[in-house]
């Protein structure tokens, strides 16, 4: 085994044997999982709001609002079933479920999903109702004015008998809504109730103007038949989820590359600092050349990075196959069918080498993390810029500024994957890759020199003296 590989193996094993490494592997998916499921969990576990409506309008608005709330919950349940169909069995299942729902309601929708994926149909649970409408107390029903009703509502909410009380007063075009709620920050039902009352006011105003209920219902149901078409779509016309997937995958890949490069480069930096501060670097230099030491360390940490990436990819793939097989198939088609996995791989290698070599070279001048912070501050500021632009690439991957910034080698490894949805011209792909490769070569040459000078240097070094030390022609 060559010295480079021995150094790489030591570097890899030194980290992979630590508890911290395995915790860090679990940490990110855990954070992502918690952030993704937390709102859902909260929705599922949240108790429905106990709502009472006191109607002082004399226009029977209260029962109509209660009916609108129930209908809204029914529509939310239908939407959730269609989303589950899309996730579990793809767009055709979603369409079939939608048609079945229109004909036979929720039960028919479930049956339609079961035909595509019985497990998903059996697992499906409709979202919990946001509210249940309870009858107002006799005192509230006896109230003649909004003030009297308010006093009763205040008491009922304060006593926790109810979570919210809606008092409707006024008439026709001047309906007043007073919502008493236990939730001071953001009443859960506020928006839903506003929309329901607003819809009813509109409906009644149109009725007063002579528009019949049938016409109004028909008008509300009017929707254009919308087709999203693109010459870049796989079908040549209609845009499907698979066509849109590259934009999402590109953004995710850019972010993943960014975090992997940053993580890998940081591990490398810490490793070099440890060896520099304990003078191990000097012993290594007496046993191996600088390219062997740097190459071994970069390769070892790359192995770590790939281990993390491999474990995450495996876990993600298993999750997709189990919970969203349709999406898993589309993702595989996008990554493998279009060869994007190699496209992303090339930028991952380029980005990692660029930043890892730079961090290793700088680390050789640092005795502590504090020294490193001084030297790395400007680099970290530069590294935050592509993050800002990557999120814009989802909506406007063709934006001229993104295209221009892609040519700046420190940004290339992150922005080019994020722009994949725009199918960048070959000249840009080749040009930016060549420029990135040249920059990687220049940085490796610079960092190799820095590593050698830094490993034997003593005392504190700032950015100015670091560049001076590297550029200074060593006598001899």
């Amino acid at each position: 085994m060559s010295r480079l590989l021995k150094i790489a193996r030591r570097e890899y094993l030194a980290y992979v044997r630590t508890v911290g490494f395995w915790l860090s592997i679990i940490a990110l998916p855990l954070v992502i999982g918690v952030s993704a499921t937390a709102p859902l969990m909260m929705m599922k576990t949240a108790k429905p709001e106990r709502l009472a409506i006191i109607d002082l309008t004399g226009q029977n608005l209260g029962p109509a609002v209660a009916k609108a709330i129930v209908e809204d919950q029914s529509r939310a349940s239908a939407r959730a079933l269609r989303a589950a169909a899309l996730s579990a069995a793809g767009p055709k299942a979603q369409e079939a479920v939608g048609k079945a729902q229109a004909k036979g309601g929720e039960a028919a929708g479930r049956e339609a999903l079961a035909a595509f994926n019985p497990t998903a149909a059996a697992r499906f649970k409709p979202p919990r109702a946001k509210a249940i409408v309870l009858p107002a107390s006799p005192q509230a029903q006896a109230a003649a004015t909004p003030r009297e009703a308010g006093l009763v509502a205040r008491r009922d909410v304060a006593d926790k008998r109810l979570d919210s009380v809606l008092i409707l007063s006024g008439r026709d075009d001047a309906v007043v809504m007073d919502l008493w709620s236990r939730n001071l920050g953001a009443p859960v039902l506020e928006n839903d109730l506003r929309q329901a009352v607003s819809g009813l006011m509109r409906e009644r105003a149109l009725a007063r103007a002579g528009v019949s209920a049938q016409v109004l219902k028909a008008a509300d149901g009017l929707k254009p038949a919308f087709n999203s078409l693109s010459p870049k779509a796989a079908s040549g016309e209609k845009v499907s989820l698979r066509d849109r997937l590259p934009a999402i995958v590109g953004f995710a890949a850019g972010m993943l590359l960014w975090s992997m490069v940053l993580t890998g480069a940081s591990i490398l930096l810490n490793s070099v600092i440890e060896e520099k501060s304990s003078k191990i670097l000097e012993v290594l230099l007496s046993s191996a050349s600088v390219p062997e030491i740097m190459g071994g360390k970069i390769l070892g940490v790359a192995g770590l990075t790939l281990t993390v990436l491999g474990i995450w990819a495996m876990a993600g793939w298993l999750a997709l196959i189990n919970f969203a097989p349709g999406l898993a198939g589309d993702l595989a088609a996008v990554l493998l069918g279009k060869g994007l996995v190699f496209y992303f791989g090339a930028y991952l290698v380029g980005g990692y080498l660029m930043y890892a070599a730079l961090f290793a070279g700088i680390g050789a001048f640092c005795e502590s993390q504090r020294d490193a912070q001084t030297l790395l501050g400007p680099i970290m500021m530069v590294m935050t810029i592509p993050v800002v632009f990557m999120s814009q690439a989802i909506r406007s991957p063709d934006a001229p500024i993104l295209s221009a910034l892609s040519w700046f080698p420190p940004f290339t490894p992150f922005l080019m994957p994020a722009r994949i949805a725009s199918d960048p011209p070959l000249v840009q792909v080749v040009g930016t890759t060549v420029l990135m490769a040249a920059t990687v070569a220049a940085i490796i040459a610079f960092s190799t020199r820095a590593f050698h000078v830094g490993a034997l240097a003593t005392g504190k070094v700032n950015l100015k003296t670091l560049i001076g030390l590297i550029l200074r022609k060593q006598a001899g």
């Binding site: 085994m1 010295r3 021995k6 150094i7 030591r10 030194a14 044997r17 630590t18 440890e274 501060s277 304990s278 003078k279 191990i280 000097e282 012993v283 290594l284 230099l285 007496s286 046993s287 191996a288 050349s289 034997l456 200074r472 060593q474 006598a475 001899g476």
Partner: protein, 305 residues
Amino acid sequence: MVSAVSLEGVSKTYDDFHAVQDVSFEVPAGRITGFLGPNGAGKTSTIRMILGLLPVSAGRITVLGAGDATKVHERIGFLPEERGLYKRMTPIDAIAFFAGLKGVPEAEGRKRARAMLEAQGLGFAMKRPIKDLSKGMAQKVQLISALAHEPELVVLDEPFSGLDPVNQQALETMIRDIAARGATVLFSTHVMQHAERLCDKVVLMARGRKVFDGDVATARRAAPRALVLEGELSAEQVMALPGLGAVTSEPLPDGGWRHVAVLPETSAGQDALKAAFARDLALRRFELKEPSLHDAFIVLTGDRA
């Protein structure tokens, strides 16, 4: 005598600072050579140039017959001045790793590490993380790391620094053992007692220049012998004695004075002793003191130290 290391007119310059100036010396093969000098004398820079870690600004260095030490680094063992090991590694892994970098197959490296740790009484600690070892133990582990590939040339930069007397003694024994198996040892120190006990040859450096190159006995002769006189006698009385050079005096804690008089090469000191008796001086101690390497070091480095 065959030389393991040869320096000819070697200089090292950092911008305007001359760390090493026109230094030439030989390190005889199979012997222990002490590389002495005060802090900042240029010892570490010279060692780094010998090892090929730093390029020379001028001159030529030959190591084990090669003009570039990096070409023969598998035949060299090196212990740097400030020591450290991978703290989470076990001694056996660390020794096998460094031996591996010098070309020893892993299984052989582990076998040698086990044997050497056992020989140094560290068998019980071979699988403990290095961070759990005492400083002396870790020092031994690092020295074993520098020796496990059985180098022909061993370069030790200030190997005794930071060690307690017991571990210093153990390290001296290890250095003698290295030389006993035929390897060349070059070690730097500014503590003369170690060099005096261990070295066949010493090279003294001060302010980047070589000030002495020879055996310990010759080095000692660079400093004058001295007479030590203690008792109830004044400096004037001592200076009046025949055959003595300059006198330095200091009071003793229990009363009286301690005078140290330089003894010229031509004088044996008997005349001064006879005169002291004849003058009935109140002498409690009269001792002829041969110069030590430390005395020679002071004289040779002089105001360069």
